[in-house]
């Protein structure tokens, strides 16, 4: 991967195509102002020997009229972070659409039997369904009634309220209604001001959700759970059962999972999560705020992990064992890895001859476009180009750039909570010396190196790729597989290129952990080997002379 830092872009080619030309084609249709903006979001990867990468503009507003993959603040808050928690009743305060479209559409799985009350409200969709009258006279009364009704029918432990666009505009005080109802009902009721126009993408909603959970839930139950090696899993949303596979591995290794934010989660576990000893971050973008705040307030350190890819899974499990430093745990972890890996390697070896050298593109999420490259590597596939939908510079370039990120007006409006060490409950989990020792052994705390340092020289990184650019990329490169979400899926397949959804997994999965890796290998094998594309041209098209002959006859 190493190459001279002064290497000129002109000399770089990607998959046989000159990158300067590729960039030019991507931007050709845009007015000059738009092209200048997009230019900063399309970067050719160059990694210096000390791991530095070029700057990429990200987390900036999408240009109106460019069809984007991005969702809104509400989607990030209600849909992504809070949606997978089964025992909170989520009420969407607004007109009917927002609640309806986020009605379990992310296909998060959950296991209601793992909490004693068996509550599961994820298959329900509650909304105040605002009408003209509420827009004109205010919707607080209707919200109050909605909370009361939800309570009367379901007797939940908690109710959360999510504001949509009109709510912020008409000035409903959602938070005071929640406080009032919390007092009245004696259960936890809290609100999120996650109106869709806030921020530049769902990322703003993640931050608002993090703030809300941290303020209203984390640390409200100090019960110390039994078990050793207590961890929280952050930024894992149990799409396609990923969390179940990860939980299986934790159990096998002898780790005690206190809480997951928020795949297969329960509000009781959030309340208790500050009693764990280590936070593991899977999706850095959506959840790093909670990890940061828990560290400041309660003293739990966090490390970045990745359970996508068999090698990455093994590495992450080893990191956890290394942190706790317990000989038995280390041995047991190694035993689990040794027991699981052969089957994965066997599957990879069987499939790899059919996938070796195939070319992938990944444009998805705030971590998946990075994580899934692991699985493609294991199949011998090359990632030509990748990018995130809603990530920030640190997710691309690593947290080392955090101090140099300029905060623009859109991000400044999202509250940064001021957090201080808790007077009674703050307790650093490991002594400074031990932390330093682990660091010297290569265990990085509170760090994420980002996607770009791990990508090949000359690969193309595109932030917030538009539909137009997606189509251009497909036309220019004709990759063997393209990964994004359902909105992009069918247009890509129309062009004869297999498209794997990495949001909902095309209703497959799990793809995490060891068993998940095998599932993914098989899925990619099926997709890149599909025969359907070979039938695209009918015999009379393949052989026009013959067709003409028939016509004459």
């Amino acid at each position: 991967m190493a190459m001279p830092a002064d290497m000129k872009e002109e000399s770089l080619t990607l998959d046989g195509k000159e990158l300067t030309r590729v960039r030019k084609q991507l931007l050709a249709k845009y007015p000059s102002k738009v092209a200048r903006k997009r230019d900063k979001q399309i970067v050719v990867n160059r990694v210096t020997p000390d791991g530095k990468v070029p700057e990429i503009q990200s987390n900036v507003r999408t240009v109106p009229g460019l069809i984007s993959q991005r969702g809104c603040c509400y989607a990030g808050c209600k849909g992504v972070v809070l949606g997978p928690t089964r025992d909170i009743i989520n009420i969407t305060h607004g007109p009917v659409g927002c609640g309806f479209y986020s009605w379990l559409t992310r296909r998060n799985q959950t296991d209601p039997d793992s909490t004693p009350d068996g509550h599961n409200f994820m298959t329900y969709c509650f909304t105040t369904d605002m009408q003209d009258e509420q827009i004109i006279f205010g919707g607080e009364k209707k919200l109050r009634q909605a909370i009361q009704e939800a309570y009367d029918i379901f007797k939940p432990k908690a109710i959360a309220v999510f504001s949509t666009c009109p709510v912020g505009l008409i000035g409903d005080d959602v938070h005071s209604v929640c406080r009032e109802m919390k007092e009245k009902l004696g259960i936890n009721v809290f609100g999120f001001s996650c109106e869709g126009y806030k921020g530049v993408s769902q990322s703003a909603g993640h931050h608002i959700a993090n703030n809300g959970i941290f303020t209203h839930v984390v640390g409200t139950d100090n019960t110390v759970q039994p078990g050793a090696f207590k961890i929280n899993m952050l930024g894992e949303y149990n799409i396609g059962g990923d969390a179940f596979e990860i939980e299986r591995l934790f159990e096998a290794c002898g780790l005690t999972l206190i809480s997951t934010f928020s795949g297969n989660s329960s509000i009781d576990k959030f309340a208790n999560s500050h009693t764990a000893d280590l936070n593991l971050i899977m999706c850095h973008r959506s959840i790093n705020y909670v990890a940061e705040m828990m560290e400041k307030k309660f003293g739990l350190p966090w490390i970045k992990v990745n359970f996508i890819g068999a090698q990455a899974t093994a590495k992450s499990l080893r990191k956890i064992a290394q942190y706790f430093g317990d000989e038995k745990l280390i041995a047991r972890t190694e035993a689990v890895i040794a027991a699981e890996l052969p089957e994965v390697e066997k599957a990879a070896a069987e499939i790899r001859p059919r996938t070796e050298g195939k070319r992938a593109m990944l444009f998805v999420g705030g971590s998946r476009a990075h994580h899934y490259q692991e699985l493609f590597n294991e199949l011998g596939m090359v990632t030509l180009s990748a990018g995130y939908e809603f990530a920030h510079r640190d997710d691309y370039e690593g947290r080392r750039v955090l101090p140099s990120i300029k905060v623009d007006a859109d991000s400044r409006n999202i509250e940064e909570l001021e957090v201080h060490p808790d007077e009674t409950r703050y307790q650093p989990r490991i002594p400074k010396e031990r932390a330093a020792e682990l660091k010297s052994q290569g265990l990085q705390f509170a760090d994420y190196e980002g996607m770009m340092p791990e990508m090949a020289q000359g690969s193309l990184i595109i932030d917030d790729i538009s539909q137009h650019e997606t189509e251009k990329m497909i036309a220019m490169f004709k990759p063997d597989i393209f990964c994004a979400g359902i909105k992009e899926k069918y247009v890509i397949q129309k062009h004869g290129i297999p498209m794997k959804q990495l949001h909902s997994y095309d209703y497959g999965g799990p793809y995490a952990g060891f068993k998940g890796a095998i599932n993914f290998y098989q899925e990619i094998d099926r997709m890149v080997g599909s025969r359907v594309w070979s039938y695209l041209k009918a015999p009379w098209q393949k052989n026009p002379e013959l067709a003409a002959k028939y016509a004459c006859d």
Partner: protein, 468 residues
């Protein structure tokens, strides 16, 4: 819980009226801009543009796409916090410019979201200003439908977009073409749209179908690059709607609306507006074919007489399976009405009819469709959510539920088989290919209903008979 303050439950029978609740639990309707976007997808070369925050276009795209399994590009003017305060004029102009450059569209259809509606953006004025700044002939026609989702459901958005399109484009008068007919089919499946066009063509007529997303939302693979999927009704054809011999507008409740595309054309150009129900089942398919026969002056083609014969033959053969079966039906009001009309013909008693729609014509329409002796057992809910519908279904204990995928939870909890129709269908293949209309659609639906009942009986049998 029912939806909204204007919930009505019409207990035609003796069921007590359930208390109305203020919140909506599991809505049985979608939002207005979705309906409008669907209409714009039915115009050739059109790009829908939502004026508001980007989440709306993203949510609506993902929802339409997961049903149709086709590309659905919907642009957005991407409001930010500042835009929400200062208005969306600049964003709209930018969006229009960018869409024109990237897609070279034949039309841009703007639907407003809650956000731009709440702040009161004057979109018609923005469009005027934008057009004034562009050289003549360089920008495509722009249609604007006002679609705040706090007013009505996706169906209101749908009909408003049809009306806005006709109002904006259909301005050419003179030279009536006797073989041209306007068809406003309502929210039907792509398969239905194809079938309805075939019917019109079979009478030697040329249909102007609005919207016609039969190809744009149910097309084949592409051998070459398409900026916008093929298909849809050309702008020029819509522009000539005023020269048609007549308009046909489908939908029982739409037929009672005061402002529709067919009425507008009747008023503008003095042409006939035939307002019929969805052509589902025997009587309403007969009515459409008869209307087409009148307009064209031709007899009903043999192919439909044959289809009708096969349908009746099928109904005779399978009547034993469906007679006196009791069913719950939910979904858009016009779909419910169309289905109920058909069910009443084949001996299936509708006992619960639910819709999230709020035209307030549903009860009136159904009363005319259901035989008098059955009415006492029928409960009609409009402006309803699934909580209200499920409560009514639980009381009525029907043998069968007919509706879209969102009723699956109810079907599962109550152990009553669900026959999927309409939109959205996310849990089965083939939603866009479902044929509901015409004799052929009636036959397909009959087979699916009868087979669902047979399957249940067969599975429930201890012996496992292979003759049913």
């Amino acid at each position: 819980m029912n939806t909204s303050d204007s919930v009505k439950e019409y207990a035609m029978g003796n069921f007590p009226i359930t208390p109305t609740a203020s919140a909506t639990q599991n809505a049985c309707k979608l939002c207005a801009p979705l309906g409008a976007s669907l209409v714009f997808k039915g115009i050739r070369g059109a790009v829908p543009l939502l004026h508001g925050s980007q989440g709306c276009s993203t949510y609506i795209r993902r929802y339409l796409i997961s049903h149709y399994k086709e590309p659905v590009d919907i642009a957005c003017s991407n409001f930010g916090e500042q835009t929400a305060v200062f208005g969306g004029a600049v964003n709209l102009k930018l969006a229009l410019e960018n869409i024109c450059r990237q897609y070279d569209p034949a039309l841009i259809g703007i639907a407003t979201t809650c956000l731009s509606e709440t702040i009161g953006d004057d979109v018609p004025m923005f469009i005027k200003q934008y057009l004034a700044g562009q050289p003549e002939g360089t920008v495509p026609p722009i249609v604007h439908a006002s679609t705040p989702s706090y007013q009505g459901s996706h169906m209101e958005g749908f009909h408003r977009a049809v009306l806005a399109t006709v109002r904006t484009l259909a301005t050419q008068a003179g030279g009536i073409k006797q073989n041209q007919v306007n068809l406003f089919p309502g929210m039907l499946s792509p398969a239905d749209l194809r079938h309805s066009k075939e019917m019109v063509v079979a009478f030697g007529l040329e249909p102007m179908v609005l919207p016609d997303y039969s190809q744009t939302l149910d097309g084949g693979l592409w051998e070459s690059y398409h900026r916008i999927p093929d298909g849809g009704t050309p702008v020029a054809t819509i522009a000539q709607a005023g020269t048609a011999a007549a308009s046909i507008e489908l939908g029982h409740t739409l037929a009672l609306a005061n402002e529709t595309a067919a009425l507008l054309l009747a008023e503008r150009f003095g042409m006939r507006a035939a307002r019929l129900g969805f052509p589902m089942g025997i009587r309403h398919t007969d009515a459409l074919l008869q209307t087409l026969s009148e307009i064209s002056g031709r007899p009903v083609p043999a192919i439909y007489r044959e289809q009708r014969g096969r349908l009746l033959d099928t109904l005779v053969d399978g009547h034993k399976h469906v007679n006196n079966i009791r069913a719950a039906v939910y979904g858009e009001e016009d779909l419910v009405a169309g289905l109920v009309g058909y069910l009443s013909e084949i001996g299936i008693h509708p006992v619960v009819c639910g819709s999230g729609g709020q035209s307030h014509h549903l009860a009136e329409v159904l009363e005319a469709l259901v035989p008098e002796s059955w009415r006492k057992e029928l409960t009609v809910l409009d402006g309803a959510d699934f909580a209200a519908i499920e409560a009514a279904v639980e009381k009525a204990k029907p043998d069968l539920i007919i509706g879209h995928s969102k009723g699956y939870a109810m079907s599962r909890r109550l152990s009553i088989p669900l026959v999927r129709v309409g939109f959205p269908i996310h849990d089965r293949m083939g939603g866009p290919r479902l044929l509901h209309i015409g004799y052929e659609g009636a036959m397909a639906l009959f087979d699916r209903i009868a087979n669902a009942l047979i399957e249940q009986r067969q599975d429930g049998s201890e012996v496992g008979y292979t003759y049913m």
